[in-house]
């Protein structure tokens, strides 16, 4: 189990996420906004590439490719002096952590990756055993927020009292490397705790709380009916629980729920009274950020105006 006290706030490489960049850029700006206000020392480096997660989990990339790309990103982090890789996307988090473990424990793979780097003249990318520690160099942005929950409570400008919020923790954060989760991996409470600090009333337990969002990488594209049936199952449960805000920590889940909620409503003839946002966007709002210029809500499919008006933000 990861101890909250062990989570750093210095030398964080805020690891850019492809899906955030292309679908919800406001998640990145909101995270930066919050980090700035909480005094977190971080940097963003354009040399960092995609983690390969989308290709890896659609079975397109071999493990070796994924590992080599990860090793390159680790070198980027080390070279810029910000070795604590902090992800916006749970899949980036899992991919990087697993690759690091593999590079440390599997000499054959490490030698192979390094021989490729040397052959290509990328000597500065070479990964030596132990260059990164899978347990202490990899974080999800939500963990940083959790470690600052006291400060968030102190600094909050806007109180979300009475908002019935539900957390959707991302599978690739707590089910892949389950030994390194803050709290019990059968019931992670990171988002709930942070949301509560912002004044919201989190629904700490609801039916199918640990059910996947349903995106399932290739599943959304190849078995869409099943994929959306899974998504609908959770939305139904949240609707029954009277939830008005669903809070996310991964752009893949965010897409699945926010983009496809209207699709499910149309196809299944149902209606949901629920809006979606990332936990960083929620904290940013609480700290006084602009819903459009910082949180980028204009890129959301489920309109947030109703929610923002009700809470008095706009």
């Amino acid at each position: 189990m990861k101890a909250i006290e062990s989570i750093p706030d210095r030398k964080l490489l805020l690891f850019k996420s492809c899906m955030v960049g292309q679908e919800y850029p406001g998640v990145e700006t909101a995270t930066r906004y919050v980090f700035d206000r909480l005094g977190v020392d971080y940097c963003i480096n354009d040399e960092q590439s995609c983690c390969t997660g989308i290709g890896h989990y659609t079975d397109v990339f071999e493990g070796l490719t994924t590992t080599a790309i990860a090793a390159r990103n680790f070198a980027v982090a080390r070279k810029c002096g910000y070795p604590n890789i902090t992800c916006l996307c749970s899949t980036c988090y899992a991919i990087n952590k697993e690759a690091c473990e593999l590079l440390n424990t599997n000499t054959e793979v490490r030698d192979k990756v390094n021989s490729i780097f040397i052959e290509k003249g990328f000597d500065d990318l070479v990964y030596e055993k132990g260059d990164m520690n899978p347990r202490t160099n990899f974080y999800h942005a939500v963990e940083i927020l959790l470690s600052k929950v006291g400060k968030i409570q102190e600094e909050k400008k806007f109180d979300f009292s009475g908002i019935r919020a539900a957390a959707h923790h991302a599978c690739h954060y707590y089910k892949v490397k389950y030994l390194d989760v803050v709290g019990n991996p059968e019931n992670p409470q990171l988002i709930d705790t942070i949301a509560e600090a912002c004044g919201a009333s989190p629904v700490r337990w609801y039916e199918d709380r640990t059910l996947t969002c349903g995106m399932g990488f290739s599943q959304l594209h190849l078995n869409k009916s099943t994929s959306l049936q899974v998504t609908k199952t959770k939305l139904d449960s949240l609707q029954r629980a009277g939830v008005e805000l669903m809070i996310h920590m991964c752009p893949n889940c965010h897409i699945q729920y926010d983009r496809y909620q209207p699709v499910i409503e149309k196809e299944f003839g149902v209606e949901y009274d629920m809006v979606h946002m990332n936990i960083a966007q929620f904290v940013a709002l609480s700290l006084g950020a602009d819903p459009y210029k910082v949180c980028g809500f204009q890129t959301h499919s489920v309109p947030l105006e109703g929610f923002l008006e009700k809470t008095g933000i706009i």
Binding site: Y178, N184, P185, E186, N187, W205, E207, D208, T210
Partner: protein
Amino acid sequence: MTDGTTDGLDKAAVFICHCSGNISEHVDIDAVKKTLKAEGISVFDYEYLCSSQGQSLIKNKILEGNLDRVVIGSCTPSKHGTLFKKCVQETGLNRGGLEIANLREQCAWVHPDRTGATEKALSLLRAKLKRLENIEPLEEIKVDIAQQALVIGGGIAGITAALNLADNGISTFLVEKDSSIGGQMAKIGKIFSPDKLAEECAMCSLSPLMNEVAAHPKISLLTWTEIESLSGSAGNFMVRLKKKPRYVKDSCTACGRCSRVCPVPVEDEFNCGYMDKKAISLRFSQSVPKIYCIDPDYCLQLNGEACGKCATACKTGAIDFSQKEEIIELNVGAVIVATGFEEYDVSQKPQYGYGIFENVLTQMELARIMGINGPTKGELLRISDFSKLSNAPKSATCTSGCESSSDHSSDNSSGAETPKRIVMIQCVGSRDEKEGGNRYCSRYCCMAALKHASLIKKKYPETEITICYIDVRAFGFYENYYRAVQETGVNFVRGRPAEVIEKPDKSLVVRVEDTLNQKIRELPADLVVLSAAMVPSPGTRKIASVLNLSQDESGFIKERHSKLKPVDSSLDGIFVCGTAQSPKDVTDAIAQAGLAAVRARAFITDSPKSLDNEIAAINQLLCTRCGECLKCPFNALSLNESGRVVLDPLICTGCGYCTELCKDGAVQVAGFTKSQLKAEIEGVLEEGDMLGFVNSGIASLTCDNIGNSVLTYPSNVKLIKVPTTLVVGRDLVLHAFKHGASSVLFVEDPPDSPRAEVIYPLTTSHFKKLKEELGDSGSRIYFKKTYVPNTKGLAGTFTSLAREGEMIK
């Protein structure tokens, strides 16, 4: 201790046993005799030295010749060592004057070449003679054992152990941290039994035993008391106890008036929090001792508010708010730990909803609810339906329960519902490799689930019960019970459920794959019962650390050997039984408690106790009191008031680690001093020999076992027995090389016992250090860990090292 006078040849004699050809067919005994006689040594031989005639021969020769030292060439000392020791001691000779050369297992049986075997026999005998040149008498150490015992924990195991000890005449203290004995078993309404298909009333079995404890003249019962510390050593433990004030004197008649007038309701832990008790209460109506007890955290009077209602109500004036905590010190010879288990905290598996959904409970909680003296008087109700308030204790003296069971069944005024559908989930926290889970099977839960299913089916035949299991472990005669329960119509689904879901009406759904028909099922339930793992109680964990006992990775107190010493803890004189040692049911706990009592009694009555082990001895003249030796891993060494290093003979295992630590040569293991070992090296070695230093435990047995297994190795392999290889320092290895050893092999015991677990890592690091210190010669020393069956491997090592030595020669 060294008389250091003569080389003492005239006072020495050698006795050689033919062992009915076992030795004489391979060793030319006549030649050996001739050679030794030529050197002026008396030599005698006999067909069977172990026979009474053989022993008489030895005794007569000792007395006739006024001998003070004897070498016997025979089978391994682990076979007849004790016999020969006794034999020479009967003549008044000190056992330090006897040496046994192993001419059978380590000579005749392993060297088929007669010349080689004869030469080796000669060298073995010479080595022992050489060792005796500076005879060092061994002290007989005897210790008085305190003639009373302490049992910690008043559950069924502790009660059984205490009664067994007391019935065998041992004065016994039984200490219990709660206000009454009875433990977990007292909470269970009915228990299962291997030889009956019916369930037995737990209290009917337990209550008479509890009363017997209270009445037994040999038992001192100390409830509401905890162990503070334990010092001293086996046979003479000093135990410090803290007796908490009850604020009620022994004159209490348990009439219950105090409880009725007490205005403070307190959550009742005994009833799993399902009902309240008062701040003054009995733990349960059959409590022993039957004396009320005030909870100081909640009592108004004790928290500075004027109340005292109980004192006014009490007719015997038993309430005493001035009682103070008492410290009691006991001197006991042996301790039995019976501190029990607690249920695994099932809220660590939030997928099953315990602590989230009201109608999810554990088997122990169900057992309490089904108890006739429980919160619902034995009636089965949905938890969400019965409120605490309606069950506030009316009379705390609802005496003994089982005969009046039917009286209460219609006592349900709250409109609460009896659950129609019950699902039980097995292995919650057991057989679980995940963090927070336990890898072991908890042994009792299959039977507990079957028992509860059976009880419910008998009382409420319409109830639909489903048990979700992975394997039903109804071992032994319990299989009969399992079959009987099957016949009552209980459903069994083979699958480990994924999760429990709560519906708005507080009913539940269990999602599980029925792996036998490969269907995912959603089982509706009004009550879900989790069969929680058995884990060590907080008391067990605390006692293990206060007493410094070895624990297994789950925190249970580890026995010394699972088969041969199943109730001995890692410390001499401390025994363990019941669920403090491992998960088990009532039947097994009682059986084990009986054994613990027998072992403790045997330990206590063997007084004064003489020690078998050769142990460390401190030469106070050489000792600089640097304190290095206090690093003893068993804490056998300490500084006394005058700053001298003293040894606790009962704790010392004779491992010899202190001899390595002491830079001044002030500590030696008696019988294995540097000068004795040097002498033996000089006597036994020829140029090019391989010398083995063999741990006298498992390693020695393995060496002997090579002979038993009809395997062979070259006769230039010479073995010297040592308590552990820790006593073999740099000077001894160099001495061996000087006297012709081509290589030196350390043969060690594997880390398989609590003692060896401590010693083994020390021997390996000792070896590594030695290898470094020796520089170039370091390449000639080797280390091998042996297990008794590993005879081939060890003989192989001997052979290859001996061949290398020959090549060098």
